[in-house]
Protein backbone atom coordinates (compact mmCIF):
# COMPACT_ATOMS: atom_id res chain seq x y z
CA UNK A 1 0.00 0.00 0.00
CA UNK A 2 2.77 2.33 1.00
CA UNK A 3 4.71 1.54 -2.14
CA UNK A 4 1.67 2.21 -4.30
CA UNK A 5 1.07 5.48 -2.49
CA UNK A 6 4.69 6.52 -3.06
CA UNK A 7 4.46 5.57 -6.72
CA UNK A 8 1.30 7.63 -7.18
CA UNK A 9 2.91 10.59 -5.41
CA UNK A 10 5.99 10.27 -7.61
CA UNK A 11 3.84 10.26 -10.75
CA UNK A 12 1.67 13.08 -9.38
CA UNK A 13 4.75 15.25 -8.89
CA UNK A 14 5.89 14.66 -12.42
CA UNK A 15 2.57 14.39 -14.21
CA UNK A 16 3.18 17.55 -16.27
CA UNK A 17 6.69 16.50 -17.23
CA UNK A 18 5.49 13.00 -18.16
CA UNK A 19 2.66 14.42 -20.28
CA UNK A 20 5.13 16.79 -21.95
CA UNK A 21 7.51 13.96 -22.79
CA UNK A 22 4.63 11.87 -24.18
CA UNK A 23 3.66 14.77 -26.45
CA UNK A 24 7.27 14.98 -27.64
CA UNK A 25 7.26 11.25 -28.38
CA UNK A 26 4.07 11.76 -30.40
CA UNK A 27 5.84 14.49 -32.37
CA UNK A 28 8.67 12.09 -33.18
CA UNK A 29 6.62 9.08 -34.33
CA UNK A 30 6.50 10.18 -38.00
CA UNK A 31 10.26 10.84 -37.99
CA UNK A 32 10.88 7.23 -36.92
CA UNK A 33 8.54 6.07 -39.68
CA UNK A 34 10.41 8.16 -42.27
CA UNK A 35 13.79 6.73 -41.19
CA UNK A 36 12.42 3.17 -41.17
CA UNK A 37 10.78 3.62 -44.58
CA UNK A 38 14.08 4.73 -46.10
CA UNK A 39 15.29 1.11 -45.60
CA UNK A 40 12.08 -0.43 -46.90
CA UNK A 41 10.94 -2.38 -49.93
CA UNK A 42 7.14 -2.16 -50.04
CA UNK A 43 5.22 -5.40 -50.67
CA UNK A 44 4.08 -4.07 -54.05
CA UNK A 45 4.78 -0.95 -56.06
CA UNK A 46 1.54 0.87 -55.30
CA UNK A 47 1.36 0.13 -51.59
CA UNK A 48 2.89 2.47 -49.06
CA UNK A 49 3.61 -0.14 -46.39
CA UNK A 50 6.42 -1.90 -44.58
CA UNK A 51 7.82 -4.85 -46.50
CA UNK A 52 11.42 -6.04 -46.23
CA UNK A 53 14.70 -4.39 -45.28
CA UNK A 54 17.04 -3.06 -47.99
CA UNK A 55 20.02 -0.75 -48.56
CA UNK A 56 18.90 -0.24 -52.13
CA UNK A 57 17.16 3.14 -51.57
CA UNK A 58 20.29 4.60 -49.99
CA UNK A 59 22.61 3.30 -52.70
CA UNK A 60 20.35 4.39 -55.57
CA UNK A 61 18.94 7.68 -54.31
CA UNK A 62 18.50 9.28 -57.71
CA UNK A 63 16.75 6.29 -59.25
CA UNK A 64 13.19 7.77 -59.30
CA UNK A 65 12.95 9.77 -62.51
CA UNK A 66 13.16 13.52 -61.92
CA UNK A 67 13.63 13.40 -58.15
CA UNK A 68 17.22 14.59 -57.98
CA UNK A 69 16.59 17.29 -60.59
CA UNK A 70 13.72 18.56 -58.41
CA UNK A 71 15.96 18.35 -55.35
CA UNK A 72 18.70 20.39 -57.06
CA UNK A 73 16.13 22.99 -58.17
CA UNK A 74 14.77 23.29 -54.61
CA UNK A 75 18.30 23.81 -53.28
CA UNK A 76 19.08 26.43 -55.90
CA UNK A 77 15.87 28.34 -55.16
CA UNK A 78 16.44 27.92 -51.42
CA UNK A 79 19.98 29.33 -51.55
CA UNK A 80 19.05 32.31 -53.74
CA UNK A 81 15.92 33.10 -51.71
CA UNK A 82 17.92 32.85 -48.48
CA UNK A 83 20.65 35.15 -49.78
CA UNK A 84 18.24 37.90 -50.86
CA UNK A 85 15.77 37.56 -47.97
CA UNK A 86 18.53 37.51 -45.34
CA UNK A 87 20.21 40.60 -46.79
CA UNK A 88 17.03 42.65 -47.16
CA UNK A 89 15.59 41.39 -43.86
CA UNK A 90 18.75 42.15 -41.86
CA UNK A 91 18.78 45.74 -43.16
CA UNK A 92 15.14 46.11 -42.11
CA UNK A 93 15.83 44.59 -38.70
CA UNK A 94 18.62 47.13 -38.08
CA UNK A 95 16.31 49.98 -39.05
CA UNK A 96 13.54 48.73 -36.73
CA UNK A 97 15.75 47.84 -33.75
CA UNK A 98 18.27 50.69 -33.87
CA UNK A 99 16.42 53.70 -35.20
CA UNK A 100 13.43 55.74 -34.16
CA UNK A 101 11.46 57.10 -37.09
CA UNK A 102 7.97 58.11 -38.05
CA UNK A 103 5.90 55.06 -39.02
CA UNK A 104 7.98 52.53 -37.08
CA UNK A 105 4.95 50.87 -35.48
CA UNK A 106 3.22 50.64 -38.84
CA UNK A 107 6.28 48.97 -40.40
CA UNK A 108 6.49 46.55 -37.45
CA UNK A 109 2.86 45.55 -37.90
CA UNK A 110 3.26 45.39 -41.68
CA UNK A 111 6.19 42.96 -41.40
CA UNK A 112 4.03 40.78 -39.15
CA UNK A 113 1.24 40.48 -41.78
CA UNK A 114 2.74 37.89 -44.18
CA UNK A 115 3.31 35.58 -41.21
CA UNK A 116 -0.39 35.70 -40.32
CA UNK A 117 -1.77 35.31 -43.84
CA UNK A 118 -2.71 31.81 -44.96
CA UNK A 119 -0.36 30.47 -47.63
CA UNK A 120 -3.23 29.68 -49.96
CA UNK A 121 -4.26 33.36 -49.94
CA UNK A 122 -0.72 34.69 -50.51
CA UNK A 123 -0.16 32.12 -53.23
CA UNK A 124 -3.38 32.89 -55.06
CA UNK A 125 -2.88 36.66 -54.82
CA UNK A 126 0.62 36.35 -56.30
CA UNK A 127 -0.79 34.19 -59.07
CA UNK A 128 -3.48 36.82 -59.71
CA UNK A 129 -0.73 39.47 -59.97
CA UNK A 130 1.43 37.42 -62.34
CA UNK A 131 -1.54 36.62 -64.56
CA UNK A 132 -2.71 40.25 -64.57
CA UNK A 133 0.83 41.32 -65.51
CA UNK A 134 0.71 38.97 -68.49
CA UNK A 135 3.23 36.56 -66.99
CA UNK A 136 0.73 33.69 -66.76
CA UNK A 137 2.68 31.74 -69.37
CA UNK A 138 6.06 32.35 -67.75
CA UNK A 139 5.43 30.90 -64.32
CA UNK A 140 8.44 28.94 -63.13
CA UNK A 141 11.83 29.40 -61.49
CA UNK A 142 11.69 33.21 -61.18
CA UNK A 143 8.11 33.46 -59.98
CA UNK A 144 8.83 30.78 -57.33
CA UNK A 145 11.96 32.70 -56.26
CA UNK A 146 10.04 35.98 -55.97
CA UNK A 147 7.39 34.29 -53.81
CA UNK A 148 9.93 32.59 -51.56
CA UNK A 149 11.88 35.79 -50.91
CA UNK A 150 8.58 37.49 -50.01
CA UNK A 151 7.51 35.00 -47.32
CA UNK A 152 11.04 34.47 -45.92
CA UNK A 153 11.59 38.21 -45.40
CA UNK A 154 9.31 38.62 -42.38
CA UNK A 155 10.85 35.65 -40.59
CA UNK A 156 14.35 37.11 -41.11
CA UNK A 157 13.29 40.53 -39.80
CA UNK A 158 11.70 39.05 -36.68
CA UNK A 159 14.66 36.73 -35.92
CA UNK A 160 17.42 39.30 -36.43
CA UNK A 161 15.44 42.02 -34.63
CA UNK A 162 15.03 39.75 -31.60
CA UNK A 163 18.80 39.22 -31.50
CA UNK A 164 19.46 42.97 -31.83
CA UNK A 165 17.06 44.05 -29.10
CA UNK A 166 18.36 41.34 -26.77
CA UNK A 167 21.96 42.52 -27.24
CA UNK A 168 23.94 44.35 -24.60
CA UNK A 169 24.46 47.85 -26.04
CA UNK A 170 27.16 48.68 -23.47
CA UNK A 171 29.80 46.92 -25.59
CA UNK A 172 29.12 49.28 -28.49
CA UNK A 173 29.13 52.28 -26.18
CA UNK A 174 32.47 51.11 -24.75
CA UNK A 175 33.94 50.86 -28.26
CA UNK A 176 32.81 54.40 -29.03
CA UNK A 177 34.26 55.62 -25.73
CA UNK A 178 37.57 54.11 -26.84
CA UNK A 179 37.47 56.30 -29.96
CA UNK A 180 36.41 53.57 -32.42
CA UNK A 181 34.76 55.02 -35.52
CA UNK A 182 31.17 54.04 -36.24
CA UNK A 183 32.46 51.79 -39.04
CA UNK A 184 34.95 50.02 -36.73
CA UNK A 185 32.36 49.61 -34.01
CA UNK A 186 29.94 48.05 -36.45
CA UNK A 187 32.33 45.50 -37.96
CA UNK A 188 34.30 44.64 -34.81
CA UNK A 189 31.52 44.65 -32.21
CA UNK A 190 27.98 44.86 -33.56
CA UNK A 191 28.23 42.51 -36.54
CA UNK A 192 29.99 39.61 -34.72
CA UNK A 193 27.40 39.86 -31.95
CA UNK A 194 24.42 39.83 -34.35
CA UNK A 195 25.92 37.20 -36.62
CA UNK A 196 24.41 34.14 -34.83
CA UNK A 197 20.98 35.76 -35.27
CA UNK A 198 21.63 36.35 -38.98
CA UNK A 199 22.85 32.78 -39.40
CA UNK A 200 19.76 31.45 -37.61
CA UNK A 201 17.54 33.59 -39.85
CA UNK A 202 19.34 32.27 -42.95
CA UNK A 203 18.86 28.65 -41.86
CA UNK A 204 15.18 29.32 -41.15
CA UNK A 205 14.74 30.95 -44.58
CA UNK A 206 16.37 28.05 -46.35
CA UNK A 207 14.21 25.46 -44.64
CA UNK A 208 11.02 27.52 -45.22
CA UNK A 209 11.85 27.90 -48.90
CA UNK A 210 13.00 24.30 -49.34
CA UNK A 211 9.84 22.91 -47.75
CA UNK A 212 7.23 25.25 -49.19
CA UNK A 213 4.47 23.61 -51.17
CA UNK A 214 1.19 25.57 -51.19
CA UNK A 215 2.51 28.91 -52.50
CA UNK A 216 4.98 27.20 -54.84
CA UNK A 217 2.39 24.88 -56.33
CA UNK A 218 0.24 27.86 -57.42
CA UNK A 219 3.11 29.82 -58.97
CA UNK A 220 5.34 27.10 -60.42
CA UNK A 221 3.84 26.55 -63.86
CA UNK A 222 5.50 23.38 -65.14
CA UNK A 223 8.61 23.71 -62.96
CA UNK A 224 8.95 20.99 -60.29
CA UNK A 225 10.48 21.51 -56.85
CA UNK A 226 11.18 18.66 -54.43
CA UNK A 227 7.92 19.04 -52.42
CA UNK A 228 6.03 19.15 -55.72
CA UNK A 229 7.76 15.93 -56.77
CA UNK A 230 6.65 14.29 -53.52
CA UNK A 231 3.11 15.57 -54.04
CA UNK A 232 2.76 14.31 -57.59
CA UNK A 233 4.26 10.93 -56.71
CA UNK A 234 1.81 10.63 -53.80
CA UNK A 235 -0.98 10.55 -56.39
CA UNK A 236 0.67 7.58 -58.15
CA UNK A 237 3.24 5.42 -56.37
CA UNK A 238 5.61 6.80 -53.77
CA UNK A 239 9.30 5.99 -54.30
CA UNK A 240 10.95 5.03 -51.01
CA UNK A 241 13.88 7.29 -51.91
CA UNK A 242 11.93 10.36 -50.76
CA UNK A 243 12.33 8.96 -47.26
CA UNK A 244 16.11 8.83 -47.76
CA UNK A 245 15.99 12.55 -48.60
CA UNK A 246 13.76 13.14 -45.55
CA UNK A 247 16.19 11.28 -43.29
CA UNK A 248 19.24 13.12 -44.64
CA UNK A 249 17.49 16.49 -44.25
CA UNK A 250 16.66 15.64 -40.66
CA UNK A 251 20.21 14.49 -39.88
CA UNK A 252 21.82 17.60 -41.40
CA UNK A 253 19.50 19.98 -39.57
CA UNK A 254 20.07 18.14 -36.29
CA UNK A 255 23.86 18.32 -36.75
CA UNK A 256 23.69 22.05 -37.50
CA UNK A 257 21.60 22.74 -34.38
CA UNK A 258 23.69 20.52 -32.09
CA UNK A 259 26.91 21.97 -33.54
CA UNK A 260 25.63 25.49 -32.85
CA UNK A 261 24.71 24.55 -29.28
CA UNK A 262 28.12 22.93 -28.64
CA UNK A 263 29.89 25.97 -30.09
CA UNK A 264 27.81 28.26 -27.85
CA UNK A 265 28.69 26.21 -24.76
CA UNK A 266 32.40 26.15 -25.62
CA UNK A 267 32.59 29.94 -26.11
CA UNK A 268 30.66 30.40 -22.88
CA UNK A 269 33.15 28.19 -21.01
CA UNK A 270 36.11 30.00 -22.59
CA UNK A 271 34.65 33.35 -21.57
CA UNK A 272 34.15 32.07 -18.03
CA UNK A 273 37.86 31.12 -17.71
Amino acid sequence: MNVLRKMLDWIGDRIVLITGILVLVYMFIPIFVVVAMSFNVPPSRNVYQFGTFTWHNWLHVCEPYGMCAALARSMEIGLLATLVATTLGTLMAFALARHRFVGRTVVNLFVFLPMTSPEIVMGSSLLALFVAAGLGGQLGFWTILIAHIMFCLSFVVVTVKARLTGMDSHLEEAAKDLYATEWQTFWRITFPLVFPGILGAALLSFSLSFDDFIITNLNAGTTTTFPMFVWSSAQRSIPMQINVVGTVMFAIALLVVLGGELHRRRTKRQLAK
Binding site: V16, I21, M27, F28, P114, P118, G166, I242, G246
Partner: protein
Amino acid sequence: MTSACHTVEPDAISGATHRRRIPIAYWLLLPGMAWLLLFFVVPFYSLIATSLYDPQGGVDSGYEMTWHVANYAHAIRDYAGPFARSLLYGGVATVLCLLLGYPLAYAIAFKAGKWRNLMLVMVIAPFFTSFLIRTLAWQLILADQGAIVGFLKWLHILSADGRLLATPVAVVAGLTYNFLPFMVLPLYAALEKIDPSLIEAAGDLYASPVRGFLKITLPLSKAGVVAGTLLTFIPAAGDYINAQLLGNTQTRMLGNVIQDLFANVGDYPAAGALSMSLMFLIVGMVMYYIQKVSTDELI
Protein backbone atom coordinates in the same frame (compact mmCIF):
# COMPACT_ATOMS: atom_id res chain seq x y z
CA MET B 1 10.76 46.69 -25.36
CA THR B 2 12.79 48.04 -22.45
CA SER B 3 16.10 47.09 -24.06
CA ALA B 4 15.08 48.84 -27.26
CA CYS B 5 14.54 52.07 -25.37
CA HIS B 6 17.98 51.57 -23.90
CA THR B 7 19.69 51.95 -27.25
CA VAL B 8 18.12 55.33 -27.92
CA GLU B 9 19.42 57.01 -24.81
CA PRO B 10 22.85 57.97 -26.22
CA ASP B 11 21.16 59.65 -29.18
CA ALA B 12 18.76 61.54 -27.00
CA ILE B 13 21.74 63.32 -25.42
CA SER B 14 22.91 64.78 -28.72
CA GLY B 15 19.88 65.84 -30.70
CA ALA B 16 22.09 66.42 -33.75
CA THR B 17 22.96 62.75 -34.27
CA HIS B 18 19.33 61.88 -33.77
CA ARG B 19 18.24 64.12 -36.58
CA ARG B 20 21.00 62.90 -38.88
CA ARG B 21 20.05 59.27 -38.26
CA ILE B 22 16.46 59.44 -39.42
CA PRO B 23 17.02 59.11 -43.20
CA ILE B 24 19.34 56.09 -42.76
CA ALA B 25 16.47 54.06 -41.30
CA TYR B 26 14.36 54.71 -44.39
CA TRP B 27 17.21 53.68 -46.70
CA LEU B 28 17.66 50.44 -44.75
CA LEU B 29 13.94 49.71 -45.02
CA LEU B 30 13.61 50.65 -48.70
CA PRO B 31 14.57 47.41 -50.52
CA GLY B 32 12.72 45.06 -48.14
CA MET B 33 9.61 47.23 -47.96
CA ALA B 34 9.61 47.64 -51.74
CA TRP B 35 9.68 43.84 -52.10
CA LEU B 36 6.81 43.40 -49.63
CA LEU B 37 4.75 46.17 -51.26
CA LEU B 38 5.28 44.78 -54.75
CA PHE B 39 4.81 41.08 -53.98
CA PHE B 40 2.57 41.06 -50.89
CA VAL B 41 0.36 44.19 -51.02
CA VAL B 42 -0.06 44.71 -54.77
CA PRO B 43 -1.01 41.01 -55.24
CA PHE B 44 -3.91 41.56 -52.83
CA TYR B 45 -5.15 44.30 -55.11
CA SER B 46 -4.89 41.86 -58.06
CA LEU B 47 -6.72 39.19 -56.08
CA ILE B 48 -9.56 41.56 -55.14
CA ALA B 49 -9.80 42.63 -58.79
CA THR B 50 -9.83 38.98 -59.92
CA SER B 51 -12.60 38.18 -57.44
CA LEU B 52 -14.77 40.90 -59.04
CA TYR B 53 -14.23 39.91 -62.69
CA ASP B 54 -17.11 38.90 -64.92
CA PRO B 55 -17.35 35.11 -64.47
CA GLN B 56 -18.29 34.74 -68.17
CA GLY B 57 -14.65 35.24 -69.19
CA GLY B 58 -11.95 32.59 -69.22
CA VAL B 59 -8.24 32.23 -68.60
CA ASP B 60 -7.51 32.15 -72.33
CA SER B 61 -10.07 34.67 -73.59
CA GLY B 62 -9.39 37.09 -70.72
CA TYR B 63 -11.67 38.51 -68.05
CA GLU B 64 -13.63 41.73 -67.95
CA MET B 65 -13.72 43.84 -64.83
CA THR B 66 -17.40 44.27 -64.04
CA TRP B 67 -17.42 44.70 -60.24
CA HIS B 68 -19.23 41.40 -60.04
CA VAL B 69 -19.79 41.33 -56.27
CA ALA B 70 -22.18 38.40 -56.75
CA ASN B 71 -19.08 36.21 -57.21
CA TYR B 72 -18.72 36.19 -53.44
CA ALA B 73 -22.29 35.08 -52.79
CA HIS B 74 -22.04 32.38 -55.46
CA ALA B 75 -18.68 31.09 -54.28
CA ILE B 76 -19.76 30.89 -50.64
CA ARG B 77 -23.07 29.24 -51.61
CA ASP B 78 -21.43 26.71 -53.95
CA TYR B 79 -18.64 25.86 -51.54
CA ALA B 80 -20.35 26.21 -48.16
CA GLY B 81 -19.28 22.64 -47.28
CA PRO B 82 -15.52 23.12 -47.77
CA PHE B 83 -15.75 26.54 -46.09
CA ALA B 84 -17.44 25.07 -43.00
CA ARG B 85 -15.01 22.14 -42.93
CA SER B 86 -12.00 24.49 -43.05
CA LEU B 87 -13.30 26.33 -40.00
CA LEU B 88 -14.37 23.15 -38.19
CA TYR B 89 -11.24 21.06 -38.83
CA GLY B 90 -8.97 24.07 -38.24
CA GLY B 91 -10.85 24.91 -35.03
CA VAL B 92 -10.81 21.36 -33.63
CA ALA B 93 -7.11 20.98 -34.50
CA THR B 94 -6.35 24.29 -32.75
CA VAL B 95 -8.15 23.19 -29.58
CA LEU B 96 -6.31 19.84 -29.64
CA CYS B 97 -3.00 21.65 -30.15
CA LEU B 98 -3.75 23.82 -27.12
CA LEU B 99 -4.61 20.77 -24.98
CA LEU B 100 -1.44 18.92 -26.07
CA GLY B 101 0.81 21.94 -26.33
CA TYR B 102 0.10 23.57 -22.98
CA PRO B 103 1.44 20.71 -20.79
CA LEU B 104 4.48 20.42 -23.05
CA ALA B 105 5.22 24.17 -22.96
CA TYR B 106 4.63 24.19 -19.19
CA ALA B 107 6.96 21.21 -18.69
CA ILE B 108 9.70 22.90 -20.74
CA ALA B 109 9.33 26.24 -18.95
CA PHE B 110 9.13 25.00 -15.35
CA LYS B 111 10.03 21.31 -15.06
CA ALA B 112 12.74 20.59 -17.62
CA GLY B 113 15.70 22.07 -15.72
CA LYS B 114 18.91 21.48 -17.63
CA TRP B 115 17.01 19.61 -20.37
CA ARG B 116 15.17 22.78 -21.39
CA ASN B 117 17.25 23.55 -24.51
CA LEU B 118 17.18 19.94 -25.64
CA MET B 119 13.39 19.79 -25.30
CA LEU B 120 13.02 23.05 -27.23
CA VAL B 121 15.15 21.63 -30.06
CA MET B 122 12.96 18.52 -30.01
CA VAL B 123 9.84 20.67 -30.41
CA ILE B 124 11.13 22.15 -33.68
CA ALA B 125 12.94 18.96 -34.79
CA PRO B 126 9.94 17.60 -36.77
CA PHE B 127 10.28 20.74 -38.93
CA PHE B 128 13.71 19.51 -39.97
CA THR B 129 12.16 17.10 -42.41
CA SER B 130 9.65 17.87 -45.12
CA PHE B 131 6.00 18.63 -44.27
CA LEU B 132 4.79 16.41 -47.11
CA ILE B 133 7.00 13.47 -46.15
CA ARG B 134 5.81 13.66 -42.52
CA THR B 135 2.19 13.74 -43.66
CA LEU B 136 2.83 10.70 -45.87
CA ALA B 137 4.25 8.98 -42.78
CA TRP B 138 0.88 9.57 -41.09
CA GLN B 139 -0.77 7.92 -44.07
CA LEU B 140 1.18 4.81 -43.12
CA ILE B 141 0.58 5.11 -39.37
CA LEU B 142 -3.19 5.46 -39.81
CA ALA B 143 -3.42 2.88 -42.60
CA ASP B 144 -6.07 0.15 -42.48
CA GLN B 145 -3.46 -2.54 -41.76
CA GLY B 146 -1.60 -0.32 -39.25
CA ALA B 147 -1.18 -0.87 -35.52
CA ILE B 148 -3.44 2.01 -34.45
CA VAL B 149 -6.44 0.81 -36.44
CA GLY B 150 -5.81 -2.73 -35.17
CA PHE B 151 -5.68 -1.54 -31.55
CA LEU B 152 -8.86 0.54 -31.87
CA LYS B 153 -10.65 -2.45 -33.40
CA TRP B 154 -9.46 -4.64 -30.55
CA LEU B 155 -10.93 -2.07 -28.13
CA HIS B 156 -14.12 -2.07 -30.21
CA ILE B 157 -13.87 1.70 -30.64
CA LEU B 158 -13.71 1.05 -34.36
CA SER B 159 -16.04 -1.49 -35.96
CA ALA B 160 -14.53 -4.45 -37.83
CA ASP B 161 -14.64 -2.63 -41.18
CA GLY B 162 -13.92 0.80 -39.66
CA ARG B 163 -10.98 2.85 -40.80
CA LEU B 164 -9.08 5.99 -39.89
CA LEU B 165 -7.41 6.90 -43.17
CA ALA B 166 -9.67 8.84 -45.52
CA THR B 167 -11.85 10.10 -42.66
CA PRO B 168 -12.19 13.55 -41.03
CA VAL B 169 -10.47 12.07 -37.94
CA ALA B 170 -7.29 11.48 -39.94
CA VAL B 171 -7.40 14.99 -41.41
CA VAL B 172 -7.79 16.60 -37.97
CA ALA B 173 -5.05 14.34 -36.55
CA GLY B 174 -2.70 15.38 -39.35
CA LEU B 175 -3.48 19.08 -38.89
CA THR B 176 -2.97 18.79 -35.14
CA TYR B 177 0.37 17.07 -35.59
CA ASN B 178 1.67 19.42 -38.29
CA PHE B 179 0.86 22.69 -36.52
CA LEU B 180 1.58 21.71 -32.90
CA PRO B 181 5.01 23.48 -32.79
CA PHE B 182 3.27 26.76 -33.77
CA MET B 183 1.26 26.43 -30.56
CA VAL B 184 4.06 25.24 -28.27
CA LEU B 185 6.62 27.96 -29.08
CA PRO B 186 4.48 31.05 -28.30
CA LEU B 187 3.07 29.30 -25.20
CA TYR B 188 6.60 28.57 -24.01
CA ALA B 189 7.69 32.17 -24.71
CA ALA B 190 4.82 33.45 -22.54
CA LEU B 191 5.23 30.89 -19.73
CA GLU B 192 8.98 31.38 -19.52
CA LYS B 193 8.49 35.05 -18.59
CA ILE B 194 6.40 34.14 -15.52
CA ASP B 195 8.29 34.39 -12.24
CA PRO B 196 7.96 30.94 -10.57
CA SER B 197 7.90 32.64 -7.16
CA LEU B 198 4.42 33.97 -8.00
CA ILE B 199 3.17 30.38 -8.29
CA GLU B 200 4.98 29.44 -5.07
CA ALA B 201 3.40 32.42 -3.34
CA ALA B 202 -0.05 31.16 -4.34
CA GLY B 203 0.84 27.80 -2.77
CA ASP B 204 2.11 29.49 0.41
CA LEU B 205 -1.23 31.25 0.66
CA TYR B 206 -2.95 27.82 0.68
CA ALA B 207 -4.18 27.95 -2.91
CA SER B 208 -4.48 24.42 -4.31
CA PRO B 209 -2.20 23.74 -7.33
CA VAL B 210 -5.24 23.81 -9.62
CA ARG B 211 -6.46 27.12 -8.19
CA GLY B 212 -2.94 28.54 -8.38
CA PHE B 213 -2.77 27.54 -12.03
CA LEU B 214 -6.17 29.00 -12.89
CA LYS B 215 -5.62 32.26 -10.98
CA ILE B 216 -1.92 32.91 -11.67
CA THR B 217 -0.33 30.90 -14.49
CA LEU B 218 -3.17 30.79 -17.00
CA PRO B 219 -3.99 34.53 -16.94
CA LEU B 220 -0.29 35.43 -17.18
CA SER B 221 0.13 33.18 -20.23
CA LYS B 222 -2.86 34.70 -22.05
CA ALA B 223 -0.69 36.41 -24.69
CA GLY B 224 0.89 33.03 -25.51
CA VAL B 225 -2.50 31.34 -25.78
CA VAL B 226 -3.77 34.05 -28.15
CA ALA B 227 -0.62 34.06 -30.32
CA GLY B 228 -0.51 30.25 -30.40
CA THR B 229 -4.21 30.01 -31.32
CA LEU B 230 -3.78 32.42 -34.23
CA LEU B 231 -0.53 30.88 -35.47
CA THR B 232 -2.13 27.41 -35.42
CA PHE B 233 -5.61 28.21 -36.72
CA ILE B 234 -4.54 30.40 -39.65
CA PRO B 235 -2.32 27.85 -41.43
CA ALA B 236 -4.58 24.94 -40.42
CA ALA B 237 -7.71 26.52 -41.91
CA GLY B 238 -5.86 27.33 -45.15
CA ASP B 239 -4.16 23.94 -45.48
CA TYR B 240 -5.12 21.40 -48.11
CA ILE B 241 -2.22 18.95 -47.89
CA ASN B 242 -3.67 17.01 -44.94
CA ALA B 243 -7.18 16.95 -46.44
CA GLN B 244 -5.76 15.60 -49.70
CA LEU B 245 -3.30 13.01 -48.36
CA LEU B 246 -5.23 11.81 -45.28
CA GLY B 247 -8.85 12.53 -46.24
CA ASN B 248 -11.22 11.66 -49.07
CA THR B 249 -13.44 13.56 -51.49
CA GLN B 250 -15.88 14.29 -48.63
CA THR B 251 -13.23 16.03 -46.51
CA ARG B 252 -12.20 18.67 -49.06
CA MET B 253 -11.31 21.94 -47.37
CA LEU B 254 -11.28 25.50 -48.74
CA GLY B 255 -7.63 25.16 -49.79
CA ASN B 256 -8.39 22.12 -51.96
CA VAL B 257 -11.18 24.02 -53.72
CA ILE B 258 -9.13 27.19 -54.29
CA GLN B 259 -6.16 25.23 -55.64
CA ASP B 260 -8.46 23.18 -57.87
CA LEU B 261 -10.34 26.24 -59.21
CA PHE B 262 -7.07 27.99 -60.08
CA ALA B 263 -5.06 25.10 -61.44
CA ASN B 264 -7.56 22.67 -62.96
CA VAL B 265 -10.97 24.33 -63.45
CA GLY B 266 -9.58 27.73 -64.40
CA ASP B 267 -12.41 29.63 -62.68
CA TYR B 268 -10.32 32.55 -61.42
CA PRO B 269 -13.16 34.83 -60.20
CA ALA B 270 -14.63 32.12 -57.94
CA ALA B 271 -11.18 31.12 -56.65
CA GLY B 272 -10.35 34.76 -55.97
CA ALA B 273 -13.64 35.35 -54.15
CA LEU B 274 -13.11 32.27 -51.94
CA SER B 275 -9.53 33.26 -51.20
CA MET B 276 -10.55 36.81 -50.23
CA SER B 277 -13.42 35.51 -48.08
CA LEU B 278 -10.95 33.39 -46.10
CA MET B 279 -8.67 36.41 -45.74
CA PHE B 280 -11.51 38.68 -44.53
CA LEU B 281 -12.50 36.06 -41.99
CA ILE B 282 -8.96 35.76 -40.67
CA VAL B 283 -8.37 39.51 -40.58
CA GLY B 284 -11.59 39.82 -38.57
CA MET B 285 -10.40 37.15 -36.17
CA VAL B 286 -6.98 38.75 -35.72
CA MET B 287 -8.53 42.19 -35.10
CA TYR B 288 -10.87 40.71 -32.50
CA TYR B 289 -7.98 39.03 -30.70
CA ILE B 290 -5.64 42.00 -30.93
CA GLN B 291 -8.24 44.09 -29.13
CA LYS B 292 -7.98 41.61 -26.26
CA VAL B 293 -4.20 41.56 -26.05
CA SER B 294 -2.01 44.51 -26.98
CA THR B 295 0.03 44.07 -30.18
CA ASP B 296 3.33 44.59 -28.38
CA GLU B 297 2.79 41.42 -26.40
CA LEU B 298 1.86 39.48 -29.54
CA ILE B 299 4.91 40.46 -31.55
